[in-house]
């Protein structure tokens, strides 16, 4: 039986929670009360059909993207395709690598079209589409492991920065990863691009054939995984400092390549408590602060949100 989509305000009365099947969105908009309610209504309206829309093209979205691949028809599906296309000649990738970011982006777009907002975010399980106007900014805390949340760093995005998408990928998350990164957080122009790039970089944080890494064909875990018989990471034993540096170095090389191709602005890679940061491309100042903790909020910064973690269905 098809469970109906859930649309509700969280108990704090500020944030909107949308849930349907595997999609879980936490949304917050700032602006006039009228604008906020118009934005939330637009988000809910767009949301109720998005899962059905994606599922109608699921076989295509789960197949490997190639230069001459058939293009999907749905608006959100097209974002997915566009986000993974730049990678399709270099590695195995399917549009599903950008599904979370694309959904977040599509919902955010419906909100910003419907209302004049100061700032807004749509957080889809750590893949976040953001809107910033005027002199507004967001401060974001980064979590390396969803199962034991602690911040490994923070970042700040101002309206003048070109960043409008943040995504995190890693083998401990909900999606499968070919790599061993606990978390790779990427800043990009939009959430779908960040999502695809985070997947690719997290896959690259790797030690091929290392005996301490348990890998299982994806289809053995989930029959209909888009990754088929590719071996996905299910366990990583404690690594030596040298191995950690080597794996992070592999990821960082790919990250700087993507930065050169203007696919991402910046990335933070985390493996077994070690963090490597690729400085951002657009300014001398760093978005990422490696202070380990969020500093007390400045007056204009009153929102912190977590990058990872699923929503408690009873929250």
């Amino acid at each position: 039986m098809r469970d109906p989509a859930l649309i509700r305000m969280l108990p704090d009365g500020r944030r909107l929670h949308l849930h349907d099947g595997p999609i879980d969105l936490i949304i917050e908009a700032s602006g006039s009360p009228k604008a906020i309610s118009a934005a939330y209504e637009a988000a809910a309206r767009r949301f109720v059909s998005i899962l059905d829309e994606l599922c109608s093209e699921l076989p295509l979205l789960r197949s490997r993207t190639e230069k001459d691949s058939e293009r999907p028809l749905g608006a959100a599906a097209q974002r997915m395709f566009a986000a993974v296309e730049p990678y399709c000649e270099d590695c195995f990738i399917t549009p599903m690598a950008a599904v979370a970011g694309s959904v977040a982006e599509a919902i955010l777009e419906s909100m910003t079209v419907a209302a004049n907002l100061e700032r807004a975010y749509v957080n889809n399980g750590g893949d976040i589409a953001i809107h910033l106007a005027g002199s507004h900014r967001y401060k974001v805390g980064m979590v390396e492991r969803p199962d034991s949340p602690s911040l490994f760093g923070s970042l700040e995005i101002a309206a003048k920065d070109p960043v409008r998408g943040i995504a995190t990928s890693g083998w401990r998350g909900r999606s499968f990863s070919l790599g061993i990164a606990d978390a790779v957080t990427v800043l990009a122009d939009c959430a779908s691009a960040a999502d695809a790039a985070a997947t690719v970089i997290a896959n690259a944080v790797n030690l091929p054939d290392h005996p301490g890494v348990t890998r299982i064909p994806a289809c053995e875990i989930s029959s209909d995984s888009d990754l088929g018989d590719l071996r996905v990471t299910r366990g990583v034993e404690p690594l030596s400092q040298f191995e950690i540096e080597a794996a992070l170095g592999n990821g960082l090389r790919v990250a700087s390549l993507l930065q050169e191709k203007h696919l991402i602005h910046s990335a933070a890679l985390c493996l077994q408590k070690c963090v490597r940061v690729l400085p951002d491309s657009f300014t001398n100042s760093r978005c990422f602060c490696r202070d380990g903790f969020l500093k007390p909020s400045a007056p204009e910064i009153n929102t912190q949100f977590e990058l990872t973690g699923r929503t408690n269905p009873h929250a």
């Binding site: 039986m1 108990p11 099947g21 595997p22 909900r174 029959s223 209909d224």
Partner: protein, 492 residues
Amino acid sequence: MPDVFPPDTVRCDACPVLCYIKRGHAGACDRYANVEGQLVRVDPHILLDRAKSQGTPLVPFLEREGDWDGKIMKGQETFVTAIGAGTTYPDYKPAPFIVSSEVEGVDMVTVVTEGIFSYCGVKLKIDTDRHLGPERNLVRAQGEPVGHVTTAEYGSQMLSLGGVHHLTGGSKSEGRITCETLLELCNGKEVELTIDDGASIRVAAGKPPVVNGQREERMRVGCGSATIGMFAKQWFGKVDDVVVVDDHITGVLSEHQAGKLLGVRETGIAIQGRRSTPGRYFQVAEPGTGWGGTNISDPLTILKPFKPKFAWPHLRLLMVSTTGEQFAYYELDEALRPVEKELPEPLRESVGRIRENCEPALTTVLFMGGAGGSLRAGVTENPVKLTDSVKRKLTRVTCGGAPAYIWPGGGITFMVDVTRMPENAFGYVPTPALVAPIEFTLKKADYAVLGGHVDYVRPLADVLKEKERQRQLVSHAQNPWPLKPHAGSSES
């Protein structure tokens, strides 16, 4: 996607992703899993923390870290609900959780299980005077019959949905849609219903009903006649006559006893419909979704020409519905015909007062079900003794910590207000039947006497150690604390 999949793979139909889930794994959402070849909802097991003070809303607790604050170990502040606990069905085995704790010096036992209810349904109380449909007519969801109109209560229309005859007595799709409708209503979601020869409504527990696309705001304060009685003094001197339009009893100030007592002059007004007693009229129009639950949108249609013998030019007339939502003000012209004018300020106040006195219109959803033999056998080896103990109020019945009203007579048939239960407390099985949480709390000594599964009793501290799947919520502030010894079982 494989055309043929291994026999121990299940296909989940909870959302359009339609995951194939292997044995021992979860679907893309992590909320449904394949447990022993069966599709199972793996939402967390809900524990309630006693609300610290009255008025604390139900809010989620952050998942607790390993270090308990000692308060929990004492045990009296946490109640293990049946939400997510699992069931005994179809085996006659002890309930999944039989938990002991000491409360105010008394050893208490709570038997916790998710019951599968083939005999169950919901009673809807819909606060509206609008006519939803003739009594006994079918209520449909997605075209399938899921219940019927029972009666009207004061200011409300009553529907009965579900029940065994719709769940399993009709066609397959009737059963499926009925189950889906009940599940959504019980979990607080909105459903759309249509009534044969009646209205189309959208209802959700604790929310205002929407009748034929119109959101109901307020309940009437009284019938038309009662409204005349309540407000006669406030109208006297400001207007010559008032008609309160109501599908049940339309009231007329100048003819009504309340008007007579004040000395309101006869106005020569004449009303359509059947006069009951002076100033009180039945059936001024057909029932409908217009003024005061009638089918009229122009109130003048219920007036016959004014009697020239009594009426006079410039006579002032207020017509208003029982909720004050509709109103119109007229003055008679030289030919004694009412001409609509703007409502004068003093009258505007009285119309506002009617509206103020009308409470917010809501839909109430009461889940009603009967605890079957296998459920009761999960509590005790001798099920009738459980029934007896519940009747004697030695055993308290709660649903997800919310108090249940137990019907007098045989069996354990109960009702519970779904808005007092934690969110998403209900599930379903494809039988079709609803899965609802049910907890039986009683003194440990009494539990032994009624033949309880005493060997399966575990201390609360033990249960709390299994943290992986647990989620702690604060109990609903209006609910009596389920573990409190000696309280009756039927408070609500």
